[in-house]
Symmetry: C2
Subunit: 349 residues, 2 copies
């Protein structure tokens, strides 16, 4: 005898990598980046509503595995994400992720999805949201130092949201730069491949650093960075991993997502605990100033925060109402009588 079919409540929509790719192409990658930027910003505006906690990290010599939960009181989300810089040498992703949404009122999951792609998209969208408030007005040229898995998403988000039309690429490995330049062809961007970081940042109003080494590194030194620049520092995102020389931080005005997390994981782990930062949600909601003047150096010390995943997951859930880019997973045991879990097991015999 086969098991009775699970009830509707027992089935959780699951978005595979393949379905996520279908969804992205159905919406269009640039449109999706713009829409993600808007939903992330909308949730930053109601920042104070969210349950916020630094991520729960399990560190090992090779990398880190993290759980990032949050909730707005109605919907709960968490993301599982790893960071293993040495994975690349074995042909594996440095960062992989999946995420979940659940109803707070019942605890029942309502969405499970791949988040490797979705994280790249939401990270780029968050960068664009920050740049919208912090980059010099009319910025047209961005530099991307580190041309790995994040690079193209960053380039397209800045183009779609801010209107940048020139991207200058540099990576320690020229093959990575070549790959990014190839992938960005056909999007209407002028792409310049550079052989030094100094060349890459020439004329750029936005400098994005997204390298992957798990170590203190100095991707940008102080004398490389002039005034009137917005730095979008993506890669310094866990303890022991930074990209900027501390002297840059002394000249910059620094904006962060959630200070208790950024002080541990971000570029500002190099600084004293009282190094002044501005919370991005205050800029977004008008409580604090973003860019003050044209000569200022602004720094978004991005580490990634749980609310950004929350926003991205809710966005995907909304989109699935119109499209069937998911399968249903029988992951919740749901007997007719909730107390009769054992009876359900017996009847499946």
């Amino acid at each position: 005898m086969s098991a009775p079919l699970p009830s509707e409540k027992a089935l959780v929509p699951f978005v595979s990598v393949e379905n996520m790719m279908r969804l992205v192409h159905h919406i269009g990658v640039e449109t999706m980046l713009v829409e993600l930027t808007d939903v992330i910003e909308a949730d930053f505006r109601r920042w104070e509503l969210f349950d916020k906690t630094p991520r729960v990290a399990s560190h090992s010599r090779e990398g880190v595995i993290e759980l990032m939960p949050t909730s707005d009181g109605e919907i709960y989300s968490f993301k599982y994400v790893n960071g293993h810089p040495k994975n690349m040498g074995q042909g594996l992703q440095t960062v992989t992720a999946f995420g979940l949404l659940a109803e707070v009122s019942t605890g029942y999951p309502v969405l499970l999805t791949e988040m490797t792609l979705l994280t790249a998209l939401r990270t780029a969208a968050t960068s664009a949201m920050a740049a919208r408030h912090l980059a010099p007005k009319g910025a047209r040229t961005m530099a991307i130092i580190g041309n790995g898995a994040q690079a193209e998403f960053q380039a397209l988000a800045m183009k779609a949201v801010l209107g940048t039309d020139h991207v200058r690429l540099y990576d320690i490995d020229p093959l990575a730069t070549e790959k990014a330049a190839r992938n960005l062809a056909g999007f209407g961007l002028t792409v310049t491949a550079c052989t030094t970081p100094e060349a890459a940042i020439e004329g750029a109003q936005i400098i994005t650093t997204c390298t992957a080494d798990k170590q203190y590194a100095t991707i940008l030194t102080d004398n490389m960075v002039g005034g009137g620049i917005h730095i979008n520092a993506i890669g310094g995102d866990c303890p022991g991993k930074t990209e900027l020389h501390r002297d840059i931080l002394l000249r910059a005005d620094t904006f962060v997502e959630y200070p208790p997390q950024t002080r541990i994981e971000g570029e500002i782990q190099q600084m004293d605990a009282d190094y002044p930062v501005t919370e991005l949600w205050k800029v977004v909601s008008g409580e604090a100033q973003g860019r003050r003047d044209a000569g200022q150096i602004t720094l978004f010390d991005s580490v990634g925060f749980a609310t950004e995943d929350f926003s991205a997951l809710r966005y995907v859930r909304e989109k699935l109402k119109q499209n069937r880019f998911y399968q249903e997973l029988d992951i919740i045991a749901d007997p007719d009588d909730p107390r009769d879990l054992f009876g359900m097991l017996q009847r499946a015999r």
Copy 2:
């Protein structure tokens, strides 16, 4: 053009509720309870190796959603689990769960599985493991107060591991008792349905309390409990939720999983912070004494700990090597060149 097939590394075995039921029946529920008891005990013996952290809980008025991570340095696990006592009124499970194993060295998930059933099994197995060290020798009769989703698993684990052959049931709702008695028919147990808790505990050497109310309750009062008893307290497992009168705790020797968690969530949340407890892993590994004498009251103040899920998940993973009770989920984005996430997306167009 369709997307290229994901590589082997991108596919994560997923055990649905239906496949978990198949696996349980394939192994046999009593055999599985015995084997789970042994793997949980084996991991308790190497307790000090594990990364231990109290669970990460998100509380709301209606219930709680928790993440329970742990690692032995080679394998990482976490469980998502909710506790919503009012769910039953809506025909939903009070507790649902799913869990994941990942390789510490790469951060890649290697197993995703339903854990509503698996949690009921591992909770019962943990109870049996504790009772093996704490219950009076030759215990034949157990009482179960609270005949909900956990009850039958508890009865069968004690039978399979300790050899109890008589179970006495009581629930505030006679229909729950009827359900449990019906489900337990045919397992070679003498089952007695009782109409009061006092009647249920008559002659029992093991008393298991597994009620679901999220409130301070007094399922057992002091005068109900004589000497020579082992109490297995399952239901007092989150802040504000207890089952035993504190006077019982004053007479009992109390054994716990992980004191920092149990002092917040267990029966002993009623007691001062210095109320003496013995860690179960020390009993299992011979560093501390279990039952001392025949007249003693022993109490296992069970709240459930992440290592128990780790053990159960590893057990399931081992079993899947011989059986195909799983499907493969395309949850990890895995481009040929790990830096070429965007290229993978473009090629799927």
